[in-house]
């Protein structure tokens, strides 16, 4: 009892202090507004200054509105569970196949757990190629899978209606009926439509861009033309993309709008730091977008992707070798190639291909030697980057390698071993590379050497603090005068000119990309997409970490870029490339073109509800899903929005219910 009173007597006075302090602060804040106005009236203040002062208060609010709407829907996104077929056993029941890659066995970690004595823990796998072909793979040592009575050797293609014998258990393989496929497709559309309307957010983003341009023009009058046209073109391209998708009823565009927001910041940073290169940066963004579209399209076809993985591995190694052979040394690291008046950083592009080559479909995961192939490529990359002295990129490759290796194998022991050897390698590197060792030695003590090794970090912190919550205004900072301010120290620049709120929102954007990925892979079709998207999201997050913490002396400064925000062509290209992997995992039908639309011919089939004229199955499902059909409300839109699983639980009942209504009996299961 005494202790509690002691505690209370300790806390209460402090609480009252805090309350008193906050009260005073709020009061002062309010009272300082008339003071500022009075000052502005008494002194000679130009309209431009007043305008900029006003804009700096509006920008964070706008950014907050834009980001909250995107983030909310990204974090809440729920991809519909899918169903691709069934395994039916008269004794054990019907097992739904929910992914393109399905493990079958007794073990609990299998996708289909068949609790039967004679079945192995992991017995076999069913793999769909995404178009029409299914294969079964025997994963036992004793050839214990047969199809239609014939024991298979390794793997075999199967068709609907085939009878499988798995560890002595007879099962019939079924694919989903057109009815189910139709419902599935509609549901996909609904869940993606239930997110935000992109138009409103894009409008807000446009206002944000306009305000940025206006203050940049005031502060960089000599480059006003370049700045204005660049922003205008960017805005137009953005609107083009959004509207084009919108007309194709694709509205799940959160990740792209997020990228547009970050790219707007990038353009603003460029306009403030090196206004003469704004059009170049705009070009980089547009090329990045093109790369994103191309890669997303390429990723639609899993078969094609899996076939070209080796090419990507060769490209990764080739790009790094090119750096080694033709690269020039800048700031101690040999990572730039100058070709035809352009400077490119091949290691940035190599990141994209590294993930492309490193992710694997389940088929590849059966064999351990495939992991060794990936390790071989990874170690080649680490070696090449070590030779280039590019420590930051090496760290990014390493973390991505760990993520991929973990996702592929889940083997803690091997990963621990790899980490230990990495630490040993790091120690060696520090011994032999004095330039990197110097960066490590100042780490955490930047303020002890303000004009030496801590020069950049200390200035980043000072500028970041100077911005306060709302920033000093576009183009009104000084950090851009410091070397690498618009790349390695870009977080400081954002804090200074656009304020802590917007800087934190930029980080929140990257974080929500990874949360988004984490959620959409729940219904990932192939492990290739799951691994690739997680690796890409992890890479973006880790890169942000190195950039932000490095510039603030919480990590050694490694000279890594902030995805989408830092100036530079190669890093912009890489950022968009990585986004393509995230996009490819999003299975919402209305999300993007990255997921192939699977077509079923439902127009032909008719359904007849007593007392109503016959209508096409397509129309009927539309009605049911929208909830406008009075007979069958349970699969209504509201239910699907609340919980994507609801429909499926009821689906079997529903299908049984309407079974008698189909005109064409051929459709029945």
């Amino acid at each position: 009892m005494d202790k509690i009173t002691d505690l209370l007597s300790y806390i209460l006075p402090r609480l009252s202090w805090i309350a008193e302090g906050l009260g005073q602060l709020a009061g002062n804040l309010l009272r300082s507004i008339p003071y500022a106005l009075k000052w502005a009236l008494e002194n000679d203040v130009s309209i431009a200054t007043l305008y900029c002062q006003m804009v700096r208060w509006i920008m964070p609010i706008l950014a907050l509105m834009i980001l909250t709407s995107i983030l909310r829907s990204m974090i809440r996104v729920k991809n519909p569970k899918e169903r691709w077929g069934y395994l039916y056993s008269p004794e054990l029941g019907r097992f739904p196949i929910t992914h393109w890659e399905t493990l079958i066995g007794k073990g609990r970690t299998c996708d289909i757990t068949v609790p039967f004595m004679t079945i192995s823990k992991v017995h076999c796998a069913l793999i769909f190629d995404g178009v029409k072909k299914w294969r079964i793979h025997d994963l036992t040592d004793r050839s214990d899978v047969s199809v239609n009575g014939v024991t298979i050797d390794g793997s075999r293609e199967i068709e609907a209606g085939d009878s499988l014998t798995i560890g002595g258990v007879n099962m019939e393989f079924e694919t989903i009926s057109p009815k189910e496929a139709a419902i599935q497709e509609k549901r996909r559309l609904f869940t993606s439509q239930s997110t935000i309307t992109p138009i409103v957010t894009t409008c807000l983003l446009t206002v944000f861009q306009m305000l940025t341009v206006s203050s940049l023009i005031i502060n960089r009058p000599e480059h006003s033309g370049t700045i204005a046209t660049s922003f205008l073109i960017f805005s137009a391209v953005m609107w083009g993309y959004i509207l084009f998708n919108y007309l194709g009823s694709k509205t799940g565009l959160e990740s792209e709008i997020l990228a547009f927001f970050l790219c707007s910041l990038c353009l603003a940073v460029t306009a403030s730091s090196r206004p003469e290169t704004v059009h170049k940066q705009l070009m980089a963004i547009l090329i990045g977008m093109a790369f994103f579209l191309a890669l997303s399209w390429y990723l639609r076809d899993l078969k094609r992707v899996v076939k070209t993985r080796h090419l990507a591995a060769v490209l990764t190694c080739g790009l790094l070798c090119a750096s080694l052979l033709f690269g020039t040394i800048t700031n101690g690291a040999q990572n730039w190639i100058h070709v035809m008046g352009m400077s490119i950083q091949p290691s940035e592009l190599a990141k994209v291909f590294f993930i492309f080559a490193g992710a694997a479909s389940l088929e590849r995961l059966f064999k351990k030697r495939n992991l060794w192939g990936f390790m071989g490529m990874s170690f080649f990359c680490f070696g090449a980057l070590a030779l280039m002295s590019d420590f930051g990129t090496a760290a990014i490759f390493f973390v991505t390698f760990l993520v991929i290796a973990f996702l592929r194998s889940g083997d803690y022991a091997t990963l621990l071993l790899i980490c230990c050897s990495a630490i040993a390698a790091l120690v060696l590197m520090l011994r032999f590379k004095p330039y990197i060792a110097a960066r490590f030695s100042i780490w955490g003590h930047a303020w002890d050497d303000v004009s030496g090794a801590g020069y950049q970090q200390v200035r980043t912190m000072s500028a970041a603090a100077s911005g306060g919550l709302i920033g000093v205004g576009s183009g009104e900072g000084w950090l851009h005068n410091i070397a690498a301010a618009n790349t390695d120290l870009v977080f400081g620049m954002i804090c200074e000119e656009w304020g802590l709120i917007i800087a934190l929102l930029a980080i929140a954007g990257i974080v929500s990309l990874s949360v988004f990925t984490f959620r959409v892979v729940r219904s990932g079709r192939s492990s290739y997409y799951v691994i690739a998207s997680c690796a890409a999201a992890s890479m973006l997050v880790f890169q942000t970490m190195l950039n932000v913490f490095g510039s603030l002396d919480m990590f050694p400064l490694t000279g890594v870029t902030f995805p989408f925000v830092s100036c530079g062509g190669s890093s912009m290209l890489a950022s968009w490339g990585l986004l393509a992997f995230v996009k490819a995992a999003d299975t919402r039908q209305g999300a993007s073109f990255a997921v192939k639309k699977i077509k079923f011919k439902n127009k032909k089939n008719k359904i007849r509800i007593p007392g109503q004229p016959p209508q096409s199955v397509d129309d009927f499902f539309d009605e049911v899903l929208e909830g406008s059909n009075e007979e069958y409300p349970p699969l209504g839109k509201d239910a699907a929005q609340k919980d994507p699983d609801v429909g499926f639980d009821d689906m079997d009942d529903f299908l049984n219910d309407i079974d008698g209504l189909f005109e064409k009996r051929g459709d029945r299961r």
Binding site: Y35, H99, T102, V450, L469, I507, S514, C534, V541, M554
Partner: protein, 458 residues
């Protein structure tokens, strides 16, 4: 798929680290923002390395230094300028503890919301807690001695007097040769950033340890023959004191008695109590970090421990930390952490910040504090003479620190006064001042008289 999907949690994990790190940064920014802003390369508030705006005042609003577009002007009175050099600092930042350097962010009007840029450019008014009158008196009282005087209110933490000498006039900075003995350590704030051999003032720490650790110590007697062998060393005393009680031993500052007491306590416990008194702390005076005192109680030779216990040997004490310990004795354990900023206001007089009184941990137990205070009073009554401090209810302990390199000892006086309006703890240190009683105590009296006279009336 199930397995792989389950492993994707690793993405989440990385994102969590990024969020946590960002949170840590935001916390750091909130706490250190104004010192980060005070980087002389920050052109929002500096121009050519000189702070653009701001006014430094004493607690009564007497202007000590003011900037108009980077042109700094100082107080009209040359004594004020010299006395407050280490508190106010210089535009170019040669005095690292100076307000112009340390509180540049506050002077320029930095705040968390609008950062370092806002419509009004006149800068803020920074009211220090020091009183220019008291500081002038202290500076004059120190005369030609190098040293320091610090006085602070142990109830509120306000430092009312902070003077460090040698000093110079910031309006007419002399060209100072590096090895000029007259300007030895001129750029260092001796009160906050130095440490010196404490001499007998340290006996107040040994006394505290003895009261806590040796049962019935107050009823024991000690014997002094002018010197005593402890371990391998001879501890010498200022006189032959004969048989003494603990109180008498402190009155005459008997090295023999305290050497023996230190030996009884032992190095380990002495170290523990020294740490408890906060002497080894780095205090943060509104963000200015004080230098920690240093000791060596690890020696195997009990003679070294005995010397350490009487404030000689390797002991080095920071004057500010000693003053805070005095405050703790006066206050019965806890005391206020010293503060140098009184308030910051906009030019129109609107307060922009609040400074809360911060209390230290208990530096001494309440019971021991009572006894130590009683003995300190007894020092004044029985040894120094109350007539030296007319009208003051004073408690103190002198120190005469011997330095191997110098012929004349350094003079210390530390203590506190009890006064409703002026609850002040103080420390006076004069290099080459000789005995503590003759020099440091006299300076303390002069300063305290002024401090009491200038104390704000409730």
């Amino acid at each position: 798929m199930k397995n792989i999907t389950r492993r994707t949690i690793v993405t989440f994990f990385l994102a969590a680290i990024l969020l946590a790190g960002t949170g840590f940064f935001v916390g750091k920014l909130f706490l250190n923002g104004d010192s980060w802003v005070s980087l002389s390369a920050n052109t929002h508030i500096y121009s050519g390395g000189v702070l653009k705006s701001g006014t430094v005042m004493d607690r009564d609003g007497e202007v000590l230094a003011a900037s108009n577009q980077g042109n700094w002007t100082f107080n009209d009175n040359v004594t004020t300028r010299r006395a407050l050099l280490h508190t106010v600092g210089t535009p170019r930042g040669v005095i690292s503890t100076g307000a112009i350097t340390k509180f540049a962010g506050k002077l320029a009007g930095y705040n968390l919301i609008t950062g370092a840029k806002h419509l009004g450019t006149a800068g803020n008014n920074l009211y220090l807690t020091v009183d220019a009158d008291i500081c002038r008196t202290a500076y004059k009282a120190l005369g030609n001695y190098k040293g320091t005087v610090g006085v602070y209110n142990y109830k509120t933490g306000e430092i009312v007097c902070l003077v460090s000498t040698p000093t110079f006039d910031p309006s007419n900075p002399p060209s100072i040769q590096e090895d000029d003995p007259n300007y030895e350590g001129v750029y260092v704030n001796r009160f906050l950033s130095s440490k010196f051999i404490p001499g007998s003032t340290f006996k107040l720490v040994t006394l505290y340890a003895a009261l806590e650790e040796i049962p019935d110590i107050q009823n024991r007697t000690f014997h002094c023959d002018g010197s005593v062998q402890i371990g391998d060393q001879i501890i010498t005393c200022t006189g032959v004191h004969g048989d003494l009680t603990l109180e008498q031993a402190l009155n005459v500052s008997c090295n023999c008695a305290f050497g023996q007491i230190a030996e009884m306590i032992g190095g380990k416990k002495l170290a523990k109590y020294t740490q408890a008194t906060g002497l080894t702390n780095n205090y943060s005076v509104n963000g200015i970090t004080t230098r920690a005192s240093s000791f060596n109680f690890d020696s195997k030779d009990s003679g070294d421990i005995a010397w350490a216990g009487v404030g000689q040997g390797k002991d080095l004490v920071n004057p500010c930390a000693m003053m805070v310990y005095m405050g703790a004795i006066a206050n019965g354990g806890k005391t206020a952490v010293p503060q140098i900023i009184s308030k910051v206001t906009l030019p129109g007089g609107l307060k922009t910040s609040i400074y809360l009184n911060k209390k230290t941990e208990p530096l001494i137990t309440e019971e021991a504090a009572g006894i130590v205070a009683q003995y300190m009073k007894s020092n004044v009554v029985n040894n120094y003479g109350e007539s030296r401090f007319p009208g003051l209810d004073i408690y103190g302990k002198t120190g005469t620190a011997q330095v191997d390199s110098a012929e004349v000892s350094n003079s210390w006086f530390a203590g506190f006064i009890r006064n409703e309006n002026a609850p002040y703890a103080f420390v006076v240190y004069a290099e080459g001042g000789g005995s503590g009683v003759s020099t440091a105590a006299a300076i303390a009296n002069t300063v305290l008289q002024s401090a009491v006279a200038n104390a704000p009336q409730e």
